[in-house]
């Protein structure tokens, strides 16, 4: 009898060990792609990155040197444009959902935002193409910013809503009880208190749209020149990487790697900074 239970407990411990090892291995496998991508991009890209890479225009085929300075600037302009569209709508939409979105209309808008965030980005690109590119009869940064802005709206809306909902109602009541008008309480007290969290959401959303390629292919298109007018085609890092990567030239391949490294560094940098600075605030 005793012998029997000893064996049983030994078997149980072995099973336990196997389970733990299996779980650990899966966890390791899960992070391998992340580190191998970052490592590979770094090794391949670091060689082609120099000062000129960020300041010069792409060089024609056959010539050495050149960079993608225009694409780096273009990406920033596109991000600013998309923020102009995505932030006001997203933030005010989120405030509305949190404060007044308890009913049926709130449910529908929340549902719509969730559906919108799951629509493939290329479909949103086509939408921007039909709406803006065919109307203006040319590719433009406006069209690209519009597509990216739409992609931002649902994430910004929902994070704003969630962050505002974390603010206790007592703060809202305390504001109202001072005879402060409701809109002012909502903006200057409730939203202001939720701002740190909302900002985190905005930055994560920005780092996501920075990496979008598909919706830009037929909206902002691309440009080999410096361009600061938003009604003209504009270069972006992602599209430039794509064009370089599918080309047959080794020179350009190296540039694609360098561009990828820059993009990964930017996105990773934003994510890490945001995580560092978005420490939880206590609300009392």
């Amino acid at each position: 009898m005793e012998n029997n239970t000893q064996i049983q407990s030994k078997v149980r411990r072995i099973k336990e060990q196997i389970f733990l090892i299996a779980v650990f291995l899966c966890a390791v496998i899960a992070v391998i792609p992340l580190f191998s991508v970052i490592g590979y991009v770094f090794v391949k890209g670091i060689g082609a990155i120099d000062f000129n890479f960020f300041t010069q225009l792409p060089a024609p085929v056959g010539e050495t040197g050149g960079g993608m300075g225009n694409a780096v600037v273009g990406t920033f302009i596109l991000v600013v444009l998309s923020c102009l569209l995505g932030l006001p709508i997203g933030i005010f939409g989120g405030i509305w959902l949190a404060q007044f979105g308890g009913g049926k209309r709130g449910f529908m808008i929340r549902y719509a935002a969730d559906v919108l965030s799951s629509i493939p980005s290329i479909v949103i690109g086509i939408f921007a193409y039909v709406l803006i590119v065919t109307t203006m009869k040319r590719f433009s940064a406006i069209a690209g910013g519009f597509a990216l802005g739409i992609i931002m709206i649902p994430t910004v809306t929902r994070t704003t809503e969630e962050m505002i909902k974390m603010i206790p109602r007592s703060l809202y009541e305390a504001g109202l009880a001072l005879g402060i008008p409701e809109w002012r309480v909502t903006l200057s007290i409730v939203f202001r208190t939720a701002w740190n969290g909302v900002f985190t959401g905005i930055m994560l959303s920005v780092s996501r749209i920075m990496g979008e390629t598909a919706p830009l292919l037929f909206t902002a298109f691309n440009s080999m020149y410096w361009n600061f007018s938003i009604d003209q085609p504009m270069s972006s890092m992602t599209v430039q990487i794509y064009n370089y990567a599918i080309s047959p030239f080794a020179e350009w391949h190296a540039k694609a790697w360098a561009g990828s490294l820059t993009l990964v560094a930017l996105v990773l940098g934003i994510t890490l900074l945001v995580r560092k600075f978005s420490k939880r605030v206590r609300y009392g």
Partner: protein
């Protein structure tokens, strides 16, 4: 004879279909402290949350009847809730300093966020309010620190200062000491004694000793009805209703 400040007539209140207050007729007298006591859930908080129409901001909440403040019915459509709350200030159970604001800005919030006009006398008002709330000496050197950095008792006095800064006529205190230690509680009770010289005070408390110590008038609420209302000493020494007597002698609640 004390001067009438607020009079409620047949005040009823509901949350959705559940009625929580039944035909309350009560008087509040000027420059006096009126305490409302009763067991949890008896409707005493809901009652005073009607005085500044905070009750109606809660989904599903409604009320009818009359509350006459200085001769005007506050439920009248012409009486804007924002204006009402400038006249009737409120301090809540838990201290609620605004987390993003400094001590100074917390006190100034009711003025700064109300109108755009330049507030030349703001410094003066902030100092006066903090002095009235017996907090000035403790915070005069930390006015630019976050309001949340103060202790719990100081935070509650900060909230009182914040309510005083807009110079209301009436101050509602909703269990203002229930989250505080005995020393902070004593300070606030002392403060209430001082404040009634300038303000009319209505306070909810579930601490009967506190009502006996600070209130001139006391109302006893039970299950949404006002059982008895009288001068505090009368309520605690010679109540006319059996239920009041049972409650204050600790037989229930």
């Amino acid at each position: 004879m004390d001067k009438l400040k607020i009079k409620t007539e047949k005040l009823n209140a509901w949350f959705y279909d559940k009625q929580v207050l039944f035909d309350i007729d009560m008087n509040v007298y000027e420059n006096k402290v009126t305490a409302i006591i009763g067991p949890s859930g008896c409707g005493k908080s809901t009652f005073i949350r009607n005085f500044n129409r905070m009750h109606e901001t809660v989904p599903g909440a409604k009320a009818d009847g009359k509350i006459i403040l200085d001769g005007k019915d506050i439920f009248n459509k012409k009486y804007d809730a924002v204006d009402l709350r400038r006249d009737v200030g409120m301090v809540f159970q838990k201290p609620t300093p605004f987390p993003t604001m400094t001590v100074y800005d917390n006190v100034a919030a009711g003025i700064k966020l109300y109108s755009r006009n330049s507030h030349s006398k703001l410094d003066e008002i902030v100092e006066r309010s903090l002095r009235q709330a017996a907090l000035w000496d403790e915070v005069r050197d930390v006015l630019n620190q976050p309001g949340m950095s103060l202790s719990g008792g100081q935070q509650q006095r900060l909230c009182i200062a914040r309510a005083l800064a807009i110079q209301p006529k009436v101050i509602l205190l909703d269990e203002p000491c229930s989250a505080l230690d005995p020393i902070s509680t004593a300070k606030i009770e002392e403060l209430i004694h001082e404040l009634k010289k300038d303000y009319t005070i209505v306070m909810v408390t579930h601490n009967m000793q506190q009502a006996a110590r600070v209130a001139d008038y006391t109302a006893f609420f039970l299950l949404g009805e006002m059982v008895e209302f009288d001068i505090t000493t009368k309520i605690f020494t010679n109540p006319s209703d059996k239920r009041t007597e049972d409650y204050i002698t600790g037989r229930f609640g």
